[in-house]
């Protein structure tokens, strides 16, 4: 198992390098930072100078190599647009995104899983049909529309929740948290719902589908025959057997939440990484994008590693399969 983890860590490094490589490839197509760096009155001479000063005129592989060298030392340079350390900017923004993503994920999980179980158990009843249909709204309404509608209803019309920003935050070390203030939670509600809507629907539907399969198995029947309480049968035995696919998807979705909450963050002006990233894209802020993509890659690598380890934790059959070597 330790060999497994070590192997995965080595692979993770490869993944990061590949991501960085592709990221660099991409930058030729997302725009030219120099155009945005210099004002409209800059002379061609200035543009040429800046280009060479930034090393943008060097061959692709030289640029990439420089980037790797610096990145290996945890140095991603300055944001071209903001003129501040990329690492610091990301560190500043990470807590906001992370808190939003985690709250949204919890919301999606805590509602999605039980509702999924419920709709699977009460297949065909009006209530579960209703839940299923509602969940379709979650997957078919684009998040920007959900966000705007929420704002329209709850901020503008009712005035219950603020429409933008993170509210009051408290600094805990380098981490700024909005979870310790009432105002912070107040600001969190709408974005979290917006972000969770899709995940919630997906998890709900997935759990339901898997539950329906598992509920038909012999061991569930046998568990019932032993007179186990329904809760134990449904949540202990059935739910756990749905976990392999559900975990995979949840893992992926959590990654997606952290990585690509761009739209929600834009709508609610949530000062997170997604907002940072979309700005970086609009202004072709290469160091920022590179660092961001590497961070996302890292998040996914970690999440996927955890999911794979959880596979083992959840399903002993897989454990033996890998340990015994096939």
């Amino acid at each position: 198992m330790i060999a497994f983890i070590v192997r995965r860590l080595i692979q993770a490094v490869v993944v990061l390098v590949v991501v960085a490589f592709i990221a660099f490839l991409l930058f030729q197509y997302v725009g030219d930072p120099v155009v945005f760096l210099l004002g409209q009155d800059a002379s061609p001479q200035q543009i040429r100078e800046l280009r060479s000063a930034l090393g943008l005129d060097q061959p692709f592989f030289v640029q990439f190599w420089h980037f790797l060298g610096n990145a290996a030392q945890g140095e991603f340079g300055l944001s071209l647009r903001q003129g501040a350390k990329v690492s610091r900017l990301i560190a500043e923004r990470f807590p906001a995104t992370f808190e939003l993503a985690v709250v949204a994920a919890l919301l999606a999980l805590l509602l999605g899983v039980p509702l999924g179980v419920y709709t699977a158990l009460r297949r065909g009843t009006a209530a579960s049909q209703g839940v299923m249909t509602l969940s379709l709204l979650g997957v078919s309404l684009p998040p920007f529309l959900i966000g705007i509608l929420l704002i329209l209803v709850f901020s503008v019309t009712l005035g219950w929740a603020p429409s933008f920003g993170r509210g009051e935050t408290v600094q805990v070390g380098w981490w700024s948290t909005g979870l310790l203030t009432l105002d912070g939670w107040h600001h969190l509600v709408l974005p979290a719902i917006t972000l969770a809507a899709f995940q919630l629907a997906l998890i709900l539907r997935l759990v339901r589908a898997e539950m329906l399969e598992v509920l038909r198995t012999d061991y569930i029947k046998f568990a019932r025959a032993r007179g186990l309480p329904d809760r134990a049968v449904h949540f202990g035995h059935a739910l756990k057997n749905t976990l392999v696919p559900v975990m995979t998807v949840i893992g992926l979705q959590l990654g997606q939440l952290i990585a690509f909450s761009i739209i929600t963050e834009t709508v609610f002006q949530w000062p997170g990484m997604g907002l940072l990233f979309i700005q970086a894209v609009t202004f072709a802020d290469i160091p920022m994008m590179a660092a961001y993509l590497c961070l996302i890659a890292l998040i996914f690598v970690v999440i996927n590693l955890v999911v794979d380890l959880l596979y083992f934790a959840v399903d002993p059959r897989l454990r033996v399969a890998t340990a015994g070597g096939h």
Binding site: A209, P245, A297
Partner: protein, 310 residues
């Protein structure tokens, strides 16, 4: 052909279709949507993609049953049942034409990513070892890129290769971009289930029979891991349609003169506060209908394909 159809209709799947009102309703909705999209030229009252007929003066009209006089007296007055958008396009017609774009992009890209993802996921889960490792790390890499960036990359390359083919390449770019970022979910999900499934005895029985691994994967394991795939796929259709809108906005998709459903919603979104709700609401309803029917059909098909649920 007829025989095949009738066999299918008499078969289990056909039977469960005939006895499921939900499935029939969903199919009816899907049929109407697809029909309107495919034959928009015939069904739609106007051709919103034909710029000549657009009347800027008719922009943002409310939905109504009354006809509007054209500014040029020689033209016939027009009906805008669902109102018009900011360019004077008839929403009803635009929905039909736009649905064509959205459906093609949504369905094709989901199908493609499903094919790729399920294929690679099966391979990874079934073969294990370095193939598994490699494919899953590939997933890690792909996951790190938002579709937006991938689309920009592909569009860049595409334009470099075919500098003069903007609109025709656009579709390809969209589909490719959504596919490339979409297959990962399927791959990882299928792989997870395959890991469990490949140790079951029926797989071993097939091995003993001498069935080639590829066939075992496709014929034995695949049907037993499709459950989550169906859920994902049906849900992803909507996501793909919305992603298409975002990409089009960034300039790598279809031009704004031929808006897709997603684009309409996105454009209309700007008019929510100013009270022109119909620009966004009707396309959104259409999108919901499409997604609803796809999901209901998907749910039904999943149950219908599962012999134990019959």
């Amino acid at each position: 052909m007829k025989a095949v159809l009738s066999r299918w209709f008499d078969g289990d799947v056909g039977y469960s279709f005939r006895t499921s009102p939900v499935a029939m309703l969903a199919a009816a909705i899907a049929f109407v949507c697809i029909f309107c999209a495919a034959f928009a030229e015939l069904v739609a009252p106007h051709d919103p993609f034909d710029l000549v007929t657009l009347e800027l003066g008719h922009a943002r009209l409310k939905p109504s049953l009354e006809a509007h006089a054209m500014p040029n007296p020689q033209d016939a007055p027009r009906h805008y049942y669902l109102g018009t958008d900011d360019q004077g396009r008839d929403i009803l017609s635009t929905i039909m034409y736009g649905a064509r774009i959205s459906l093609v992009v949504g369905l094709v890209s989901v199908l493609l990513s499903m094919l790729i993802g399920v294929g690679l996921g099966l391979l990874a889960g079934f073969r294990g070892g370095w193939i598994d490792g490699f494919l899953m790390r590939l997933c890690d890499v792909m996951l790190s890129f938002p579709p937006i960036l991938v689309a920009l990359l592909i569009a860049g390359v595409g334009r470099a290769l075919f500098p003069n083919a903007h609109t025709s390449v656009a579709f390809g770019v969209l589909i490719l971009a959504i596919t490339l970022t979409g297959w990962v979910q399927y791959a990882r999900t299928v792989r997870g289930s395959t890991l469990v499934e490949r140790h079951k005895e029926y797989v071993q029985a097939a091995r003993v029979t001498g069935v080639a691994p590829l066939r075992i994967m496709l014929r034995h394991v695949l049907p037993n891991v499709t459950g989550p795939v169906m859920v994902l796929a049906t849900v992803q259709v909507a996501t793909a349609i919305i992603t298409e809108a975002t990409l089009s906005f960034l300039g790598v998709g279809v031009p704004p003169t031929s808006p897709s459903l997603g684009t309409l919603i996105q454009v209309g979104n700007n008019y929510l506060f100013s009270g022109e709700w119909w620009i966004t609401v009707f396309p959104a309803v259409m999108l919901i209908l499409i997604v609803l029917s796809v999901n209901l059909l998907g749910d039904w098909l999943r149950d219908a394909l599962n012999p134990k649920l019959r």
